[in-house]
Amino acid sequence: MNITAFTFKKSLVPGLLLVILVALVTLPIYGSLYNVILVTSILMYANLTVSWVLFSGSTGYMSLATAAFFGIGIYASALFLPTTGAVFPVLVVVLIGGLASSLVALGVGALTLRLRGIYFAIFTFVLVVLIMELGIWWELSVSHLLGRYVILVDNNVIFYTMLGIFVLVMLTTFFIRRSKFGLAMRSIGENEEAASHIGINVTMVKVITFAISAFFMGATGAIWATKLTYVDPHVAFNVLFSFMPVLMAIFGGMGNIYGPVIGAALFAYLQETLQTEFPEIYMISFGFILVAVILYLPNGVLGLIQKLWKRISGGKRAHT
């Protein structure tokens, strides 16, 4: 009984994941255009949230730079996929967006990751504003453009690219967590001083993780830009994108890699539906839900699900 229960439980998660993946891959076949677009934005938020957790969740450094990396990706598309004709294929531009964000993260990380706690959070937030202001200045006085237009890309192409990035960021997170590198990250999150004194090059681990996380944010921004069609620095470097991943991660729970995804999915779904139907109460209800989650569900929605699941499966076991 125990063994069957064990193997059942072991194959349950991969099985479920496979079903979800198949459902996602075939969505454009059976789903409406509205559904494809909705799931695309859910995946966008999931990408940002999982990337954010990859760095901030494990090392304990609260980054508010998400909007900066996302925006750099958006501008990669604005520069290389203008309406006057694509300079590179879409996938290449997505790669450029990711790499450009990584490079900025490497530089910024090397400079600032010795800042602890609130100082790091504030610096990363200032970074977003700084890049936005630089962008505004550049567009006004160098390129003489208010904004830029990005070429139209087929909704399915956007969807599949977003899905591809999602699968990649999930696999990356999964394998990093199980690797030696993941052990170093967790040690830093637990106690950075002790980690450095047992031989972990804490600066290097933090900077590399920051850059990996920025890569996926940039790639996500690059493909998202094709959905926006019009881009200016205010749109690209909207600070809301720095806070949303944090809220979504707290909402879903950061205990394992599914929590942030569940948080992002629920949040993005609520946003899409509430925002169109009740725009006034959207932000308010949002705030209330979040306060409730923080106060009553310290491990997020996923923590609640796991608790309920334990009660159900525990109850079953008691009967046999």
Binding site: K180, L183, A184, R186, S187, E190, N191, E193, A194, A195, S196, H197, I198, G199, I200, N201, V202
Partner: protein, 245 residues
């Protein structure tokens, strides 16, 4: 051979000289006690040796080589490990993972996964925590958390181990066990420097004692010499009168 040497080691915090112009050495294979009243600069000296802080001015040499400019992780990899006065374990990780982090990253050149795991299990066995390998480190008693720090440090295969108040907060039995543990570490060939307020342990275990007071080295010698030193007795008696008043 001097495994560790310090020349004119100094550290100011603002206007306060926490460690002031201290010369010291540690012989390979010995157990050195570092004692002194609260705030004497003992932990600061450990922080300087392990590169958590940089001496200014002053030089620290390990096996004759200047290591003053190295980073903490490099200090660990060349063979100097430490524990902390206030335990700094990875509380949400299982005991074994704590030690595994040490064997994975603290050795140079690094180890394969199998070797690192073997090293970690052996270190746990050595300090007597094998049965608790799967327990989250935060659930351990203080005595066991301190043992875990020793195991994690040993897993980095040090030649020199710095123990900061291993026995503080422990009961009589646990102190006796810790003294045994230090002796067994020495018998493995690891040189030990230990900060300790438990005089019985210091007198029993150490080959040599260094006394700090207000950041300065005021005495140095065998336990016998230190126990009868006028200066040392005065410093400690002064402490007691202050505390009593």
């Amino acid at each position: 051979m001097h495994i560790l040497e310090g020349e004119g080691v100094t550290k100011y915090f603002g206007g306060l000289a926490a460690v002031s112009n201290v010369d010291f050495y540690v012989e390979q294979g010995e157990v050195v006690g570092l004692i002194g009243p609260n705030g004497a600069g003992k932990t600061t000296l450990f922080n300087l040796i392990s590169a958590a802080l940089v001496p200014k001015p002053g030089i620290i040499k390990y096996k004759g080589k200047n290591i003053t400019r190295k980073k903490p992780h490099q200090i660990c990899r060349i063979g100097i490990a430490r524990t902390f006065q206030t335990v700094k374990i990875f509380a949400n990780m299982p005991v074994l993972q704590n030690v595994l982090a040490g064997s994975f990253f603290g050795t140079s050149p690094g180890m394969s996964s199998t070797d690192a795991t073997r090293e970690a299990l052996e270190s746990l066995e050595f300090v007597g925590l094998s049965d608790l390998a799967a327990t989250p480190a935060g659930d351990l008693t203080l005595a066991n958390q301190k043992r875990l720090e020793v195991a994690r440090a040993l897993a980095t295969r040090p030649e020199l181990l710095l123990l900061d108040e291993l026995m503080a907060g422990l009961n009589h039995t646990e102190i006796a066990e810790s003294m045994e543990l230090v002796k067994r570490i020495r018998d493995r060939g690891v040189t030990v420097v230990m900060i300790e307020h438990v005089m019985k342990a210091i007198m029993n275990v150490c080959d040599r004692i260094i006394v700090l007071h207000h950041g300065q080295k005021i005495a140095e010698g065998t336990p016998q010499e230190i126990a009868t030193s006028k200066t040392v007795i005065e410093v400690y008696l002064g402490e007691q009168t202050n505390a009593g008043s």
